[in-house]
Each structure stands twice: as structure tokens, then as C-alpha cells.
Amino acid sequence: MKQDKRLFLQMATYFMALFSMLGLQPVLAAGLLTPSNSSLPALEILSHKVDVVIEDAYAITRVEQVFNNPHSQDLEARYSFPVPAHASVAEFTLWIDGKPVTAEVLEKGKARKIYQEEKKAGRDAGLTEKDGYKTFEIMVSPVRAGKTTRIRLVYIQPVNMDTGIGRYVYPLEEGGVDEQKLAFWTNNNKVKKQFDFKLKLKSSAPVDAVRIPGKSQARVQQQSAGEWQVHLGSQGSTPAPAANTAHPLEGGAPAPAFNPKNSSAAYTLDKDLVVYWRQKSGLPGRVDMVTYKPDASKRGTFMMVITPGMDLKPIARGMDWIFVLDISGSMQGKYATLADGVQRALKKMRANDRFRIVLFNSRATELTSGYVNATPDMIKHYSNKVAQVTPGSGTNLYAGLAKGMSSIHADRTSAIVLVTDGVANVGETQQRKFIELLAKKDIRLFTFIMGNSANRPMLELLTRESGGFAVSLSNSDDIVGQIIKATSKVTHQALHGTEVKISGIKTADISPRKIGSVYRGQQIVLFGHYWGNGQANVKVTGKISGQKKVYQTQFNFPSSTRENPEIERLWAYSTIEDLMDEINNFGEKADMKNAIISLGIEYGLVTDYTSMLVVREDVFATRNIKRANKQRLTTEHTAQQKRQARPVPSQRVDNNKPMFKLPQPHFGGGAISPWMIMLLAGLLVITLRQRHAD
């Protein structure tokens, strides 16, 4: 117990210091890209409107932008923004001749080829591509001289709930680690006229509070027990345009290039927007399910969300902690705070606790030369050593992990705390090798992924394989809250080797293929297909501290439902993520690549191998491109309109036979209400009058 309490304090203090450094991170942002050292003038982002609807299990984000070309030549717009976590782009619409034209999904190379051909021919075209795990890039051509172009992008993603707190991130901030991109492109991230961010939360469970940290000007309004709205908007002001905009070749002065410094921008797209919502405390552990099965005789899709209420006790035995810290060049400016955090953490340790500190950039070095007992002299010595390090150079993550895993003692439970903001770009970079490395020892990896440019898919996979958990952190996050949630997970038991078995009804294509460990406060999200209808037995199994645990329930799979067609895309994207894990592990194989392309085209998703292409309607016809995504979108829009008109129904399915006996974990605080203050004021008046009378 005492070991445990020291451990907790060490972790909490250390994480607090690490995460406080996020505020100092040098960043790029979402924005319009122009090649550096180019004579091409820059376009403007006139308006940027975001509309988010969160309905329990998933979020739909609509982004509408208007680009302006104030110059006298037609230009191409290239807009880049970070890939949101587990998000699938479902719609890309370009307004052509004042009418919206939605994109279709094609194989990446083919889509790009057609886009280039249309661009060369001067016809309207748009392309949305995915640059790995880093960014989505939208290209639109032409943005005609003196005119505007409007686009809309829609993406869908599962919602992240942890310890009763939901978190939505609208990513705008890049991690600043893509050095090639930094060198090549200049980024215009200013929204000139109007920025608008609206989020509508519709929860079947009551929601106590909604927050958007760091945005005190945002309006947060509650509509009902489970419905909230967040609105953040701003308008810009710009000087009057220059009078003479005639083309230089005609003898006129060139039009002044847009200079953000000359105008008061409505908004700068450089910081993530993070929205939290908190469910009412004491909600039971439960199973929720959303299905889509328009035809009773055919296959349906389900999304099952299991919120455990398990008895996970604090870990009593001692553990060895190895801190593996990224000190590559992108961490400059944050290191002083990191060092301070390490010092504070070390000071809290007892003499029989053990720690190691490994630093890595292009190579890995160990400060501690094996395990160190936390005596006051050693603590002071290594605290000073940590403070003297200067970050720089590349990121050799493999070397850092390998060094961290060396000399692990089998008789003690060990854990690695990895903190990184970047991409492995030095040394071994193959994902398979990382997995093999971690498999060599029985060790848990707890990863703190900082910013939007880290290789999240790989880091999450490695963490999952080891039985740990990964936490994504934004500079805009409520760091204190995230720390408390993370440290609570680390210092408590977890359900390891988690499996979900469904019997009684035919199911297939379950994703994700592997769930791994479920820590305190986490949910299990499962997608799959099913046939028929009727009662199913659902069993969650795993081990807590070596002891087998079984949680089970029974509920019906419906014969026909039409309300949530979007979950077909969510299933497809989850399956694609499984396939991408395989590709990253074993290398690209034709069958897996083709499977991703097929899924991307069938379900209208932008992936590493498929892109969204918009051309004129007649060009779709002449090029024989089927309008499958357009049809899918029509179905989804109809369903969304129907859902909008009514409150979110409870999606809980295990009411009759609850899977868990305990409620889900939560936090609490002692708060005097304004009503009580008034009561106390009354008491004050009465008492003082009494005394005066005395």
C-alpha cells in the first residue's frame, strides 16, 4: 500500500510536469499551404464553419470552408489538417457553378490522375487524400481569379468516453515533427471573415456538465438532461481592398498579396478545440448497441459499446518503472519542465523503490546505469543529470524502447512509461520489429502520445500488444484531469486478455480483432456484422491478476433498423485499421491492399489507398464513375434529419440482465451551491442582529 501511494504520487507529479510542457510546444497548424520559395501568391480562407453532432456512440463533424482568390490569376487551393483520431472522411463536396457536387471514392493513384487531368484542362475538380497518419489534404482547382470556392468535408468517428467523461477533439494543431513538410510549405492558417464552431451533444444518459477548456468566450447551453450545445464564433475585420487590381501585363500594378498581418483575422487555426462532457455519476456499468439492418433478410451491422463496472483493486505489490523519454529536436522548449517533473517525482520515492531513466533521440542513453534505489543522494545526483540534458536530433524510438527493456528483472512487475510526440525516423522503424521487441519480455507499455503528428496507429498497436494503454494528449486538453485518469489506470488492476464472445446469433467480421487489456474507466467498442434476429448471449472474459473473470448478458439483436446507417462506415474503417496494422507489421501485401481499396470504395472512405474525387457531374458520367457514395450520403442525410427531430433513445440493451453489478467509476467534489450561500447569508444576518440585541 505504501509502495503504491509513493508510486501514485511519483507518477502524478511526473506526468503533471510532462504534460505542462505541451503549452510550450512549437507548432504548425491546419491551413492553406503554399510552397515555400515560390512566386505563387497565397489564397485566403474567408470562412471556416464546423458543425459537430455527437449522438452517444459516434460524432459526425461537418467542416465548410470558403477559399478566396484575391489575385488576378486562377490558383489551386491546398488545405491540410491533422487526421482526427479513428476518423473516416465520408463526404467531400465542392460547389461547382453554385451547386454542390459530392465526391466519389476511387483508388488513390487513379483519383489523382483524373484530378490532374481535369486541372490541366481547366475544369473544376477537387481531391481529398490521406497522408498516412498525419494529415488529410484537400486540393481544389481552380479557385478562379477574384472569386471564391466553397467546400464541405464530413467525417465520422467513434466517441471516446473514459471514466464517465466524454472527450471530442477538433484537431487543428500539427505536431511540428514533419520536418520535410515544415521546410517545403508555408502555411496560412488565418480565417479572414468568419469562424464558427458548433457542437451539439445528444446523450441518452444525463450529462452534468460540458466544458471547452481555454475558450471562456464559448457559449455552453443545456437544452435538456442529455442535450447540450457549444458555440464558439468570431468575425474578422479587414482593410479595404486595393483599388488597382489590373493584371501586371496590362500595365496595372499587381494586386497586393494577402498579408495576414494587415488584417484582423477572425480566427487562427493553430490550436485544437477540445470539448469534454461529464455523465451523471453513479451510472451503471452496461452494454449499449446501435444497429443498422435496413433489410431483415440481409446482413446487418452493429456497434456494441461495453462500459464495464468491474471491481479493480489498487495494485499492492511493487513495480519497476522505466521512464523512456523523447528528447528529440521537437521537444526543445519543453525540456526544462520535463526535467523539473522528473526531479519532483524522484524526490517522492522511497528508498526501496526502483527506477530507471532512458533518454532517446537519434540514439538511446541510460542515465541511471541499471536500477537505482531511491536514496536521497542518488535522487539528487540523477535529478541534476536529467536537468543537464539538451534535446535535439532525430527520433530513434526503437533504441529507446530496447534500452528501456534491457535488464528487466523477471521477479518484479515492470512497466515502461513512454512519452513521445513524434515519429520514429532514425534506426529501426518497422512496426513488426517493435512488436517483436516488446514480446521478448513480460512488460506493459503505457504511452502518452503528444500532439497530432505522432504515429498514433503504431503507438496504439504496440501499447495494445503489451497489455498497456495509450493516452492521446492535445495542448488544449485539461491536463490535470487527464493525469488523474491515467494514473488511476496505472495503479489499479486491469482486465487482461479481454475477449468478447457472441453466441445465439450469427455474427462475423468483428473489429477490432484484438481488444487487449481494459483499464479502469475504459470502454470496449466492437463492430461487426450479424444475420437474422433474436436473443444473443454476450460474454466478456479476461483475467484480473491472473484470476479468470466472466461477465455475461443476454439481449436481442433486432430484425430491422434504419436509424444509424453511418455505422456501416465506422465498421469499415475499423476493419481498415485492422488491415493497416497487418500491413505495418508484415509489409504491404496485394490482398490486404486490395481489401482496403474495396472497402474504401464500397463504403466511401478516404484511406491510405483511396481518395475522394470531385469533378463536374457530366465528367462523372463520361468517365463512367459510379455515384455510389452520393447514394450512401442520401440515405445518411435522411436518417440524420429524422434523428435530429427526436431525443436520443437509450441504446442500453442489457437492462433485463445487466452484465455488470457495479457502477462505472467517476470523480466527485464537495461544492457549496449559490443557494446555500444565500441561506448562510440569512444565517449571518440573523446571528449578527441577535448579537447586536445582546
Binding site: H666, G669, G670, A671, L683, R691
Partner: protein, 194 residues
């Protein structure tokens, strides 16, 4: 009878509620220096014996500015009302109720992970102080205050919804009730002793 008067408070003299003022400044400075819900000081109700001092420090830190402001205003009012009568017993009431609320949140509250905030122990001071004033002045109005506060708390518990306060960490009205009970028990024990 106390020689404390309202005019003396305004013009300032040694009859000011110094203990309360000291506690107020302490809590305010704590919030300003360590910030919201510092993980090193909150009470870890899922590890109730972790670092024993958290049993007490958890009550003196807050989850956000609204939480801190409301609780500190309440502390000031209660201090002005009760300290002239209770004097140093203010400290023993707060100490005893810290233990009581921490025992409940740490061992009996279902699945609470962490707790912070003054209001649990302030409710204890409210009940103890009102009972003391009721005994002193023999006026039932002081019992009415206790009844009103208890009713609000019981309504919150039964409806499972905090009335009027929306802080970052949800209010735990059960902690208020435990604080009230602790205040009542302490009053009873004090009366028995005297």
C-alpha cells in the same frame, strides 16, 4: 455572552474571526499556487490510505474557480457567524469532520475515485454552529437553518442531481450529509462532556 459586535468587525479589532481568515487565506493561496484539483493533494478515495495527509488536504483544494469561490465565501460567512462563539473549536470541528467525510468517501462511497472540496466539512461546521447558537439563544430559527440545509441535501441525494452547482467535479451531496451528521455527533459529544 460574546462581546463581539458587527460594528467592531467593520472597524476592525482583535475580535475578527482570525482563525477563519487564516483558513480562508490558506485555501485561497493553495488554489492560486497549486491550481485546480492538484493530483498530489486530492483525496484518492479509491486508495483511501495512500499518503495519510490527503485525508485532510483533499478538503482544502478545489476542482475549479467556481468550486473554490463558492466554498471560500461559505467558509467566511460561517466563520463570521460561528467563530466568536466556537473560537478554537472551529478547528476541532473541521478536523473531526475531515476524518468523517474522508472515511465515508474512502471506504463507503461506491466507486468514487477522487474527492476534493470544502463543502463536506463546512456542512459540519454549519450544523455544529447552529446547534451551539440554538443552545445559546434558545431560538428554533437555528434549527430551521439545519433543516433547510438537510432538506436540500436529501433532495439532491434522492434526485441524484446537484441543485444549482455545476463544477468541474460533480457535487457529492452524500458528503454534505455525512458532514452534517459529523457536526451533530460532535455537538452531542461536546455536550456530554460539559
Amino acid at each position: 455572552m460574546s462581546d463581539y459586535t458587527f460594528s467592531q468587525t467593520i472597524h476592525g479589532n482583535k475580535s475578527l474571526p482570525w482563525i477563519t481568515l487564516g483558513l480562508f487565506i490558506f485555501a485561497a493561496l493553495l488554489y492560486l499556487t497549486v491550481g485546480a484539483a492538484p493530483s498530489s493533494l486530492v483525496y484518492l478515495t479509491d486508495q483511501p490510505l495512500v499518503e495519510w495527509y490527503r485525508i485532510f488536504t483533499g478538503h482544502w483544494v478545489h476542482s475549479d474557480i467556481e468550486h473554490a469561490s463558492l466554498n471560500l465565501i461559505a467558509l467566511l460567512i460561517l466563520g463570521v457567524v460561528f467563530e466568536p462563539v466556537l473560537k478554537k473549536r472551529v478547528l476541532s470541528v473541521l478536523l473531526f469532520s475531515s476524518l468523517a467525510v474522508s472515511i465515508w468517501t474512502g471506504f463507503l462511497a461506491p466507486d468514487l475515485k477522487a474527492y476534493c472540496g470544502l463543502s463536506g466539512i463546512l456542512n459540519s461546521l454549519l450544523v455544529y454552529g447552529c446547534l451551539t447558537l440554538w443552545k445559546q439563544y434558545q431560538q428554533k430559527i437555528y434549527l430551521l437553518f439545519i433543516l433547510l440545509a438537510a432538506t436540500k441535501t436529501i433532495v439532491e441525494i434522492t434526485s441524484q442531481q446537484a441543485m444549482f452547482s455545476h463544477t468541474s467535479w460533480p457535487a457529492i451531496p452524500q458528503a454534505h450529509l455525512i458532514g452534517m451528521l459529523a457536526g451533530a455527533i460532535q455537538f452531542y459529544l461536546t455536550e456530554r462532556r460539559t
